[in-house]
């Protein structure tokens, strides 16, 4: 997936990836990634958990807007269902 991100970035379009496999993301060299140590197949979280899913989207978009070096891997450390998720403050993306 990082390889696809790099091809897109190469034509001048910024990308942000969600990673469930930290070392692989680092080795391939995704331009920006948010890593969570969650079960494979669940990059945005659990089914029917919109606040968790929107929190991940927010985190990714926040990195998209704010990253200033290539290859940064953001690690928010969310603990799957042991964290409580709230509606993000989207105004912070402006």
């Amino acid at each position: 997936m990082g390889l696809i991100a790099r091809a897109i970035e190469r034509v001048g379009i910024p990308t942000v990836s969600i990673s469930l496999a930290r070392d692989l993301t680092a080795a391939v060299g995704a331009p920006r990634a948010v890593f969570v140590k969650w079960p494979l197949g669940h990059p945005l979280g659990e089914p029917h958990a919109p606040l968790q899913q929107r929190t991940m989207i927010f985190r990714a978009l926040h990195l998209l807007v704010n990253a200033d070096v290539p290859g940064v891997i953001d690690e928010p450390g969310y603990r799957w269902r042991r964290d409580s998720y709230e509606e993000p403050d989207w105004s912070r993306l402006e």
Partner: protein, 177 residues
């Protein structure tokens, strides 16, 4: 939906779903994957040149997402299926399905937002947090190996990148299986 997955594959998928096992796999895969991108090792880095509220986004997933009327991903070839499927932005959710034997996608089947958050993105556009969405989004299979990695990096990924340019896309969110 009508996949034939052996009990062994199902067991394997359950084991790899354990985050610690997945990270062990990632470490091993990382050792094989260094410099997969060929001769050009400099990391490309583009910036968003407009506010997010004016930007056009695209979703790309390697979770095996495709339309029910499209050919499923080929799970028989050991090196994977490097082709992609285009998902129109206004597709009804019931026309989207997942073909992928190498992860447990029952949760993503139950709620596509787990892996392909098109519904959330449509809501973010309505809320004027994101400017607009691309007319087409992309499903890949991931798990590409061997010579097909070159096919992906040299031909297929640049082809998709060109389509994003043609569609006026300003940023991409990529989600894995």
């Amino acid at each position: 939906m009508h996949e034939t997955i052996s009990w062994l594959q199902k067991l394997s998928n359950r084991i790899y779903a354990i985050p610690a096992v997945a990270q062990w796999w990632a470490r091993r895969a990382a050792q094989r994957s260094a410099a997969l991108d060929g001769e050009d090792n400099a990391m490309p880095f583009a910036r968003l040149h407009k506010p997010l509220s004016a930007a056009r986004g695209v979703l790309i997933t390697t979770g095996g997402v495709h339309l029910t009327e499209q050919a499923p991903f080929d799970m028989e070839t050991p090196q994977g299926d490097p082709a992609y499927r285009e998902i129109p932005v206004n597709v009804a959710p019931e026309h989207i399905t997942i073909t992928h034997n190498y992860y447990d996608h029952r949760d993503a089947d139950a709620d596509l937002n787990v892996i392909f958050p098109l519904a959330h993105f449509q809501e973010l556009v309505q809320q004027k947090i994101i400017g607009s969405l691309a007319p087409r989004h992309y499903g890949f299979m991931g798990h590409i190996d061997g010579e097909l990695v070159t096919t992906l990096t040299q031909r297929i990924a640049p082809e998709v990148a060109a389509k994003l340019r043609a569609d006026g896309v300003d940023f991409a969110l990529l989600t894995p299986a």
